[in-house]
């Protein structure tokens, strides 16, 4: 983040803060670098993850180039690529070895260093204390550490470049025996070894963050705020934190075992009688790793989307000027998805060789997830119904989330059905699905959240017109990039292949690959609108008022650009977060912190002035 923005934070901290002169001035590195302020940590997560977003995106464009134009030199930068990446120095044609590293790093960076840190790290840190009306996290130092594990972890993963084998190259799923890399002697550090250490550290960061979120939500809610007075953003983050707490240690165990197989040549996952030149012990089972890995990584898919579901719900309600339809149903749906998320991991393994009887179990549990997911979709549509919908950049990104999630959800049913999965498993159909959910879903949700909370984060409004340009370009090029991947998948195009032209049955798909690549490049460059908008608005943006969207939740009670400690008034919560367009009010919103009585008549809230009737009904 720019120093300007941060020093603004201090000035905007305003006169009020100076009343608390009992805390002495912190040195600069405690304010901007090793800060315990949840808002600064959120900005640090944002900066780090947006940086990695562009690294991961660049890797994706390399992959796309190779698929569309196999064996042709990369334009513009081809001649300056490192010699280990290309067939011969200066040729600009990437090698199959580097291609495997690219797809591994693209997936790993996007999942572990972009979407999870943005969804959980940035929004978790920024939203939870502000939206529950408290000064900071329950455990601020732990919080600081949860961020400061991420940059070293990123460096460690990226330094795979300097090892003899290059970056990790076993896919983001890192299935052994491939990921054990036993062709190199034990005690050799390969890119894969570094990958394992790095992901282990990120996992640790997740655990610390989640522990903090759970503690904060349970203990530090403002006076009067019941659990069912929390906005859905907080619910989403809270339930996600519980999932991360339960799932990540399992991943850590899997990574530790794989690390030992990789570095010490033990045999948790290595069976007997591998025909290999290197010595190892034998007697392990490769599929065990898949079970352990997906026991975390399937919930991780929901870790990457549940917080955004919450955020999108809040954005939809605010800009429709309506209560969220079926608030409690939404909470139960999030909880339902979270619970089911833990019993469906086997659907990644239908063709893995596990007993097909287990396939039946996992297929049925997976299909059940479609139910809470449809409940969410219908409730979002219900929220739009009879609203007064304002199409801000935040709202449009939130609507994109909903619509792309519908497509991603529907394409998920194909994979959930195990017999259909036989053919589409490990093809581009899966790639299309994951990108509809993680890019079309999570990333558009993240954009919505950034457009929505940017004023509170930096004290400046993001430019709406640039925001809209960013949205239109992203939304259109996103669909042009990822929708045709469904077609590739149906044609049988496998994932992770370096050159589709090797196969006769893929010959006809060349033009589609080319089309996708051109769209992907456009999609990549569309993100420059976003970067430009952020930089432009930080410098020249309109100064944000305290509550620019006229929203109800507690973060808008804080000063326009809150300093350490967040609030300048005592916060008491009087009602649920979604009392928009209440009858008997002059304005179409009714903040949670504003005193006043209401009654509930047939699912409508009506404000009452009668002093005798002091019953306060919430949003339910």
């Amino acid at each position: 983040m720019s120093t300007t923005a941060l020093s603004d934070a201090e000035t905007a901290h305003d006169d009020h803060a100076h009343e608390h002169e009992h805390h002495h001035e912190l040195p600069w590195y405690r304010k901007y670098v090793f800060s315990t302020d949840h808002k600064v940590i959120a900005k640090q997560f944002m900066l780090a993850s947006l940086f990695f977003l562009f690294v991961g995106g660049a890797f994706a464009l390399f992959i796309r180039w190779q698929l569309a134009y196999p064996g042709q030199p990369i334009p513009v930068i081809g001649s300056i690529l490192p010699t280990t990446w290309v067939t011969e120095p200066g040729s600009g044609i990437i090698t199959p070895e580097f291609y495997a590293q690219l797809l591994t790093m693209h997936g790993s960076i996007m999942i572990f260093f972009v979407v999870i840190p943005l969804a959980l790290g940035m929004f978790g840190n920024f939203c939870i204390p502000l939206m529950i009306g408290t000064d900071d996290m329950a455990l601020p130092r732990l919080n600081m550490w949860s961020f400061w594990l991420v940059p070293p972890a990123g460096l460690i993963m990226m330094s795979g470049f300097f090892t003899q084998t290059g970056y990790a190259a076993a896919g983001w799923t890192s299935y052994p025996p491939l990921s054990a890399v036993i062709q190199v002697p034990s005690f050799t550090v390969s890119g894969q070894t570094l990958w394992l250490i790095s992901v282990f550290m990120v996992g640790f960061s997740s655990i610390m963050g989640s522990l903090n979120y759970i503690t904060t939500v349970l203990n530090k809610r403002a006076k009067g705020m019941k659990l069912f007075d929390m906005p859905l953003t907080v619910w989403g983050l809270f339930i996600t934190a519980i999932m991360a707490m339960l799932g990540t240690p399992v991943l850590a165990a899997g990574l530790a075992m794989l690390f030992m197989d990789n570095f010490l040549h033990t045999s948790f996952f290595l069976p007997d009688n591998l025909v290999t030149s290197s010595k190892y012990f034998g007697g392990g089972q490769p599929i065990l790793f898949q079970h352990v890995f997906w026991f975390y990584s399937h919930p991780a898919v929901y870790i990457m989307i549940l917080p955004l579901m919450g955020i999108v719900s809040d954005v939809l309600a605010t800009f429709s000027r309506k209560p969220i339809y079926g608030y409690k149903a939404m909470v139960f749906a999030i909880a339902g998805i979270a619970f089911l998320g833990f019993i469906v991991w086997g659907h990644h393994m239908f063709q893995s060789g596990m007993n097909p009887l287990l396939g039946t179990t996992f297929m049925l549990s997976t299909i059940v997830i479609a139910v809470p997911s449809s409940i969410k979709i219908f409730n979002w549509l219900g929220t739009l119904w009879r609203g007064n919908i304002k199409f801000t950049a935040a709202m449009m990104n939130a609507l994109a989330f909903v619509s792309m999630f519908i497509i991603g959800g529907l394409s998920g049913i194909f994979m959930a059905s195990a017999p259909v999965d036989i053919y589409i498993h490990d093809t581009y159909f899966i790639v299309a699905h994951i990108h509809y959910v993680l890019f079309g879903g999570s990333l558009f949700g993240i954009f919505a959240g950034i457009y929505y909370w940017f004023p509170k984060m930096f004290g400046k409004m993001l430019n709406e017109s640039w925001g809209r340009k960013h949205f239109y370009w992203s939304f259109i090029t996103f669909n042009l990039t990822f929708f045709p991947m469904h077609i590739l998948g149906l044609g049988g195009h496998m994932r992770r292949i370096y050159d589709p032209n090797v196969y006769d049955f893929l010959k006809g798909l060349g033009p589609i690959n080319e089309f996708i690549t051109i769209s992907a490049i456009a999609l990549g460059f569309s993100q420059l609108f976003f970067v430009f908008n952020i930089l432009y608005s930080l410098k020249w943006g309109k100064k944000a008022p305290r509550n620019p969207w006229r929203a109800n939740t507690l973060e808008w009670a804080a000063p326009a650009h809150p300093g350490h400690g967040n609030f300048d008034t005592d916060i008491t919560v009087y009602r649920g977060p979604y009392e928009y367009s209440v009858d008997g009010r002059d304005v179409d919103y009714w903040p949670q912190w504003e005193p006043g009585a209401s009654i509930s008549v047939h699912h409508h809230t009506v404000a009452v002035t009668d002093g005798k009737d002091t019953r306060t009904f919430g949003a339910h």
């Binding site: 199959p96 291609y99 190259a169 299935y175 052994p176 025996p177 491939l178 009688n273 591998l274 025909v275 490769p286 599929i287 000027r321 309506k322 209560p323 339809y325 079926g326 608030y327 060789g353 097909p356 009887l357 039946t360 297929m363 049925l364 299909i367 059940v368 139910v371 409940i375 409730n379 549509l381 739009l384 119904w385 609203g387 919908i389 199409f391 519908i406 497509i407 529907l410 049913i413 059905s417 195990a418 017999p419 259909v420 036989i422 053919y423 490990d426 093809t427 469904h486 044609g491 049988g492 496998m494 370096y498 050159d499 589709p500 049955f505 367009s581 179409d588 699912h603 409508h604 809230t605």
Partner: protein, 279 residues
């Protein structure tokens, strides 16, 4: 109407199906696909309608309404019924194609090993029986090496006529083929796009992969699980031929095996060398 539907018909992108259960899988795909198309247009239609109808108007006020349990219940139960039906129907097809108990009596049985980066097949030869090897006898796994990946015991009488093919195999049309698949190094996935077959093969475990193909011709086998930098090149070809042609081919192969064994003074010690003579 038919013309309009054709625009949305993504099923035309499938490669031609040549396997008996393939049609069933494709039909199931089609059912889910058309259900999805309907749901897509319903939800997007409703959404677009709301977005236009309830767009911002200065005098308009949102409708403060918190939801209705009967509505919630309806849109919980209806999808549950729909998805439960899809689940149960899918399970039926899944059980028939993949359950171990449903693997049919083999007309042709072949062993297949994946390796970085290629596929090797072992046929039981003229006697239709495999000799002692890593599949038929667990203890023979100790014989596995880079030169004898199937761990074949050269002293085994049944194994004398077993022969190996590299990156190609042949199966007769309209026969139940059971392929016992495994790997010697990392995970691979045995993917026959036209036959709608996909099964990961795992070192240390033998998977039963079965199919019955009804159309003769030349087709391709691909690896569908990332197995290293050469993953993309792990291609093999297979021929589906008439039974007569298949028998003729077996005879030729048998002659080759016997031919390769002739000059050797002690036949028992030569099973290894014979099997190296591939296609």
């Amino acid at each position: 109407m038919g013309g309009i539907l054709k625009v949305f018909d993504m099923l035309v992108w499938f490669p031609e199906n040549i396997s008996t259960f393939g049609q069933e899988l494709d039909n199931l795909f089609a059912i889910i696909y058309w259900v999805s198309v309907i749901i897509f247009f319903l939800t997007f239609g409703v959404m677009a309608y709301f977005l236009v109808k309830y767009r911002y108007r200065p005098g308009r006020k949102g409708y403060n309404y918190h939801g209705n349990n009967i509505v919630e219940l309806t849109w919980t139960i209806l999808p549950t019924i729909l998805f439960a039906w899809i689940g149960l129907y899918s399970d039926d097809v899944w059980a028939r194609t993949k359950y171990s108990s449903k693997v049919p009596q083999a007309d042709v049985e072949i062993l297949c090993l994946g390796r970085q980066f290629g596929w090797t097949f072992l046929y039981p030869g003229a006697d239709g029986k495999f000799g002692r090897n890593a599949f038929t006898d667990r203890t023979a796994r100790n014989l596995m090496s880079t030169t004898n990946i199937f761990g074949m015991d050269s002293t085994s009488a049944d194994g004398m006529d077993d022969f190996v093919t590299e990156n190609q195999f042949r199966v007769p049309v309209n026969s139940n083929v059971v392929i016992r698949g495994s790997s010697i190094d990392v995970l691979h996935s045995f993917f026959l796009p036209h036959a709608r077959v996909k099964q990961d093969v795992i070192p240390g475990t033998w998977m039963a992969i079965w199919f019955n193909l009804f159309k003769t011709g030349d087709y391709e086998l691909a690896c569908a699980e990332l197995c290293g930098s050469g993953h993309y090149s792990m291609r093999a070809e297979y021929k589906v031929v008439s039974l007569a042609e298949y028998d003729k081919w077996l005879d030729t192969k048998n002659a080759e095996v016997i031919g390769a064994r002739q000059p050797q003074p002690t036949p028992t010690a030569t099973a290894d060398t014979a099997t190296v003579a591939s296609h």
